[in-house]
Subunit: 335 residues, 2 copies
Amino acid sequence: MPTIKDIAKLANVSTATVSRALNGKLDVSEATRKRIFDLVEEFDYTPNSIARGLITKKINIIGVVVPDIVNPFYPEVFRGIEDEARGKGYSVIYLNTDYELGKEREALVMLKQKSVAGLLWASSTTIFEGECKKDPKNMPIILMDNYHDKLKIPAVTIDNVASAFTAVKYLLSLGHKSIAHIAGNIKNQTARDRMVGYKMALENNGIEFNSDLILYTDYTQKTAKEKSKQFFGKYKPTAIFVANDIMAVGCYEAIFELGMSIPEDISVMGHDDIYISSIIKPKLTTMRQDKRELGKLAARKLIAKLDDGDSDPNTQTSLFLPTKLIQRESTRIID
Amino acid sequence: MPTIKDIAKLANVSTATVSRALNGKLDVSEATRKRIFDLVEEFDYTPNSIARGLITKKINIIGVVVPDIVNPFYPEVFRGIEDEARGKGYSVIYLNTDYELGKEREALVMLKQKSVAGLLWASSTTIFEGECKKDPKNMPIILMDNYHDKLKIPAVTIDNVASAFTAVKYLLSLGHKSIAHIAGNIKNQTARDRMVGYKMALENNGIEFNSDLILYTDYTQKTAKEKSKQFFGKYKPTAIFVANDIMAVGCYEAIFELGMSIPEDISVMGHDDIYISSIIKPKLTTMRQDKRELGKLAARKLIAKLDDGDSDPNTQTSLFLPTKLIQRESTRIID
DNA sequence: TTGAAAGCGCTAACAT
DNA sequence: ATGTTAGCGCTTTCAA
């Protein structure tokens, strides 16, 4: 593998000049620039990013931290990130945190130690403030699928309140009056927001919020199934809004095991529109979010910050993407 | 962040000694070793992996190359890899290749440029030989979910011939005589092997192989659906063995759209046992492979090679994991 | 057992 | 517009 020295020698210039040319500095003459680039081409030279990293304290790798790649929501987000990052010359390091604060912290340490340029973070819990404020300049962070009220960390997510509102509003428009809600982990801003949207829609329609109709979970299919099974023993709502599709699957299982049917006995509404939602029977009515786009825009925002600093104003702001109601077979009009 | 210099100064030794102690060289006195490690502990010092990488030409990151993380098979493999790698102090860079040779080549270049220590490679097509033979010492490769006949690259995969054989044998044991096969991309060794197993089982039971009953695909759900729909217009086998579960879903769709039912009109057998296979209706009978284990063992093999060189003999050999028949609802006894 | 010194490949002042 | 020099944080000869 050729080094910058080889190119310098062949071009009859110093390594500094080659470095300047390669990094697009303006003070290089056209002639030498061309000479250098021709050589680079000819010998297929690529700068050693490790050596560069030693100086700049940064390597062109971005870290992605998510709860669990096995959760069908994340692979799509990841594709969006990887596609965008690769196009801009960045690679992606991926870490799972299993919804555990300890692993999140550990992930952060690993990533810092590896000098990644920046972070894309889908935190499962409310982000711990200390870590995030520490050298924010050295390692910019963009939150995904979550945001933080107090800290001003830019985020790319959806408007969860509005989205849940739309979902429940739809259920109401179908004539449902007794609507339960399976909430996610309420340590999570996203889960809280979806519950807020649920409440708002209810109150907006003159229906009183009933805390008995709320099932608290940890966002997993298993828990959703267990809690649902218990719940339906006691309560008979005509509809249920589930905070994500994976839990809706758990809810389906419970309903079927109890000998009930969807949507005849109960309408089920999910959220996210993951891959399986259109495959399960009955097909799940849900709110679609464009997961790939989410990843792409988050990566774009981070890389903009990395490459251009904070000159671009929208590297500092958050983005709230729209969601879309997908009507399928799991909901019905109630008489 | 403290550097090796800081530790050296505090310990009253040279940086060389600190380096030696940290790298477990034997020629450091117990006293100084302890002094150094105490300091390391106290100041939470971690060596800068970039600086180290500049010398060793390696960074403690391993590259993972797969066709598409959105394909539900891979997230689980990835979890296995990440868990194992993290435990051993390695991070993981992930690249998608979309079943395209060009992107595979590009991925390899990126990874080399970033000086990753080694590669875990789930190649979609038969690996291109040139790239793999080039400096194999510098960047060891372990193949996943695939292997290569001619090149002696160690692999971690399953015995696809045996697995497909078992699958089809099961169908035969149910009394089926006319069994179709949806094959994967036959540029791929895995796809070819599964077809071989299919043939062997047939011939083993005195049933002649009929090429009309083979559907060639690119491993995607969409293609599987299209080809199935055409196929079932002309042929009426009583069973079909699909080379993977994602295509089985496509096959389901085709069958349902044609107004047929599973397993009454046709038995469907998949392969892999991905997440959705136990969720779809009817639940899919399939061959389970332990994807997480696959990833874990592949990572373990690679890291063993990285850390211990080729002294450990099983860094050179391939591993063929067993699969397991999972009987569910999509297959039935035929009379 | 330890230290001094060189150098990995690159960038960034500081000169010219 | 270009070259010289120093140095990023670490490992690794070579000496002692």
